[in-house]
Amino acid sequence: MDIGLGEYIALATLLFGIGALGFLTRRNLLIQLMSIELMLNSVNVALVAFNRWQPGSYDNMNHTGQTFAFFVIAVAAAEAAVGLAIVISLFRLKGSVETDRANQLKH
């Protein structure tokens, strides 16, 4: 069995689908944040795989995809920090981390 670019992109698609499904169906804010991390990670897999299969990336040391993945990791870390601070703030306000309880703008 030969593993090509298609297999890597299929894996990234599947991981993104799992993350999106978790974000859409779960009501726990912590698990929704973890689902966002899953989606960001799957994008990294796609970027690094495209970098590897870019014609001539070995010869001229082209790391554009890996550079993008590096920035995605940095932004994901910042997102996790702020997101978890919001979780703590919401828990102080509502005593729960359910997203259904965050409805002050609704009424």
């Binding site: 169906t25 009501r27 912590l30 990670n41 590897r52 550079t67 870390a77």
Partner: protein, 198 residues
């Protein structure tokens, strides 16, 4: 690609999918965080099979070392309330979301798996040749500093803003500040002044 690389991909892919599914389906957040850790370690294997050594190390340091620990700390801070119980959306909504995401995902997967075989395989890397440094610290660092100098510096500002934002968000109010805020509620002008002063 070598057979060992194929094997690494298959094992890591199965572990990554299992970890992701565990993260999404666990009822307890702590179990979900541990599944996320397994998923991240599996992704390190995927990156290694793609010759992205530096990125694999960064992934392990930043995600497994920092983000997952942050999640576990927040779960610890929140305590037993972190488990929200059976508050997930109803069966119909969940089925609809699963059908929608499943069909889109499967459609994309079938398209990409039906790829052009000429694009499918790349030349492997012979030991001792120049391409062995591909994805290493020096090669990736050179690319980041030459091609992405300004974004790299902006990342430091982003992280600084995130740290200050997280502090401002999670710190809450001291009793004196809370008293001032509740006193100002009677008078809208005082509330605006208190918000401005904060």
């Amino acid at each position: 690609m070598s057979t060992a690389g194929d094997l690494l991909f298959v094992v890591s892919a199965i572990a990554a999918i299992a970890g992701a599914a565990g993260t999404v389906m666990s009822r307890k957040p702590l179990r979900a965080a541990l599944c996320l850790l397994g998923h991240i370690v599996a992704l390190v294997g995927i990156f290694l099979s793609l010759q992205a050594h530096m990125l694999a190390a960064i992934q392990l340091l930043v995600y497994a070392g920092a983000v997952v620990v942050l999640f576990v700390f927040v779960i610890m801070l929140i305590g037993p309330e972190a488990e929200t119980g059976s508050s997930d959306k109803g069966r119909a909504v969940r089925g609809l979301a699963a059908a929608l995401m499943g069909s889109i995902t499967l459609a994309i997967m079938f398209v990409v798996l039906d790829h052009n075989p000429a694009m499918g395989l790349v030349r492997g890397c012979e030991p001792g040749t120049d391409c062995m440094t591909f994805g290493g610290v020096e090669a990736l660092g050179r690319n980041i500093y030459i091609g992405g100098m300004v974004p790299f510096e902006l990342v430091s500002i982003t992280l600084l803003v995130a740290i200050i934002g997280a502090l401002a968000m999670a710190r809450g109010r001291t009793p004196a500040e809370a008293k001032a805020a509740s006193a100002g509620n009677a008078d809208t002008e005082a509330t605006a002044a208190a918000a401005e002063g904060e």
